[in-house]
């Protein structure tokens, strides 16, 4: 019974809750039990909020009984620990924010709270979302549910692993260069990065403000559409959120994709591409063709420069955003004789190596004398990358590619080589540079690990992405595959709270 409840999608759970076949409290308890059993092995959560979840579930049951349920009333949701919540610490997986209690909720959190969603906990991430493996968390490494010796991807690795492992049917993450899509791919779940401006970032600890977006994880495209609808829309607290109407994403799913034009970028044959992954993605494209879509070769000639452009723009913005962590207002504070020494000690000890690396890179790219050569140059190349997409979208409706060039890699394999680590995001970064929406959908297995198909769409056209992803999902059974966790559940350990 319990295992069955944690295997439900949010949409299936919604039906059962509304028919009173299960209560929100039972659904929540089933997930909390699974979290307690799996967490000593997975480490997907930084904080599990069991008591808060039970209280929210009881409230949801009252709402359902009163016939006032919304789409997410009583549905368990995991939140990346970079989203501010008033009732649990928000750490960004950094020692500089250990124990920080936000005085406000992020807008996305407030919206889910208003719907009566149940927050089961805050998930692990690379420190300040900087990384591709969740190994940069200052606290611990999250394991991939498909193979515990491998990374879950990152930076939203905790959210991806939690959804894949059935610890929650839904989760939120953030995506600056692929941090939703890449871990969704490594963990075999669906993940969507909305268009820049679609979702309010108020209460998302800022990394790179011209690139960051919040988005959903789920085990089905339908559920991703459900969660996207709940968080989308204009917010006066985020001036970059756009006042466009939010379409009915769920209603768009079942539209036919016959005649849809799907672009295949010629430049995506990259060095380091795993041939098994390439073959699996080719099969997925053939399936889309069988469903009536037309495959069209397109050219995105500046793709090869996207990674270099990203590693100027993102660190530059991060170096400015992270200046606020100074030990004066909140977080770690090391007292020294002078204020300058207090800054140096607090930041020197509070930030981990990847965050320091990026702050230095960004400070350098913005410093006088190098500003034009690096920062302005990167912004100009960004224009070229965006133009590539504009031209491609004159010919096609979506652009398809692998989400990542490889399957999940081993823990520790790439930590000493930043460039190798950064290459994991080579297919996801261009969409952030151009502000476009992207979805990662499970499309098979290579070496026994999940492979993912990425679809990128026109700005504010999440509908078409969801439509193509849904058609593919209905035609295949990859999304019904679950990681082999029964052995871990059998030898139930006692306790195992991550604190």
């Amino acid at each position: 019974m319990t295992a069955e409840l944690t295997n439900l999608t949010a949409s299936e759970a919604r039906r059962r809750l509304d028919r009173r076949e299960v209560s929100a409290l039972e659904l929540t308890e089933a997930h909390l039990t699974r979290i307690e059993r799996l967490e000593p092995h997975l480490h997907a959560f930084i904080t599990v909020t069991a008591e808060g979840a039970r209280a929210q579930a009881r409230e949801a049951d009252r709402r359902i009984a009163a016939g006032e349920s919304a789409a997410l009333t009583g549905i368990p949701v995991a939140l990346k620990d970079i989203l501010c919540t008033v009732d649990a610490p928000t750490t960004a997986a950094s020692n500089i924010l250990r124990g920080y209690q936000s005085p406000y909720d992020a807008t996305v959190v407030r919206r889910l709270r208003e719907q009566g969603a149940v927050f089961v906990g805050k998930t692990n991430t690379d420190e300040f979302a900087m990384g591709s493996s969740t190994e940069n968390s200052a606290f611990f490494v999250t394991r991939n549910p498909w193979d515990l010796s491998r990374v879950p991807g990152g930076s939203s690795g905790g959210s991806a692993a939690a959804v894949a492992a059935g610890e929650a049917p839904l989760a939120l993450g953030s995506d600056t260069g692929g941090s939703i899509r890449q871990p969704a791919g490594f963990c075999g779940v669906v993940g969507l990065k909305p268009t820049y401006g679609r979702v309010s970032r108020y209460g998302l600890l800022a990394f790179a403000s011209s690139l960051d977006q919040i988005g959903p994880f789920a085990r089905s495209v339908t559920d991703v559409a459900l969660l996207l609808a709940a968080i989308s829309g204009h917010d006066p607290c985020d001036a970059t959120s756009v006042a466009l109407p939010v379409p009915d994403y769920a209603a768009a799913l079942e539209r036919d994709i016959r005649g849809m034009r799907i672009g295949i970028p010629r430049e995506y044959q990259v060095e380091g591409m795993d041939p098994e992954v390439a073959r699996t993605v080719r099969d997925a494209l053939a399936e889309l063709e069988r469903l009536g879509a037309e495959l069209v070769e397109v050219s995105l000639p500046h793709t090869t420069y996207a990674l270099a452009t990203y590693y100027i723009i993102a660190p530059a913005e991060a170096s400015a955003n992270l200046a606020r962590y100074d030990g004066v207002k909140y977080g770690l504070s090391i007292q020294e004789e002078t204020l300058l020494d207090a800054y140096l000690q607090t930041r020197g000890q509070g930030f981990g190596p990847e965050v320091k690396r990026r702050i230095m890179l960004g400070t350098y790219a913005l410093s006088s004398g190098y500003y034009d050569a690096y920062y302005v140059k990167a912004q100009k190349v960004r224009t070229l990358i965006k133009r590539d997409f504009d031209q491609a979208f004159e010919q096609v409706d979506v652009i398809a590619s692998p989400t990542s060039p490889t399957v999940a890699f081993g823990i520790g394999e790439r930590v000493d080589d930043p460039i190798q680590m950064y290459l994991a995001d080579i297919f996801t970064i261009p969409a952030n540079m151009a502000g476009l929406p992207g979805i990662a959908v499970p499309c098979g297995f290579a070496h026994g690990l999940p492979v993912s198909l990425q679809l990128v769409g026109r700005a504010f056209d999440e509908v078409t992405l969801l439509q193509v992803a849904y058609a593919y999902e209905q035609a295949t059974a990859w999304h019904t595959q679950r990681p082999p966790l029964d052995a871990l559940l059998a030898d139930a350990p006692s306790g195992g709270d991550e604190g």
């Binding site: 970059t240 140059k377 190349v381």
Partner: protein, 85 residues
């Protein structure tokens, strides 16, 4: 120094090596002629989003100061920056 990060000597050496390899990768951008290309700072067309200049409630002071290591009279407190003369 500009980044206000206190680094240990061995940390500094490791960063030097890693940052050099990243800079090497970044230098590929020089291949591109971008003389006539305008820069893109952000991708949505919104500009100068304004709101009415009206008084609205702020976050409660006590809630905001709860995280502060030192505060006094409703303000964050730091060590003296200027010498007393």
């Amino acid at each position: 120094m500009l980044a206000r990060l206190g680094l240990e000597p061995e940390e500094l050496e490791r960063m030097r090596v890693q940052l050099s390899s990243i800079m090497e990768h970044i230098d590929r951008l020089r291949e591109l002629d971008t003389e006539a290309i305008p820069p893109t700072a952000q991708v949505i067309t919104l500009q100068n989003v304004m709101r009415d200049d009206t008084v609205r409630p702020s976050l409660p002071l006590a809630e905001v100061l709860r995280n502060a290591p030192q505060h006094e009279d409703g303000m964050f407190k730091v060590n003296a920056v200027l010498e007393e003369s």
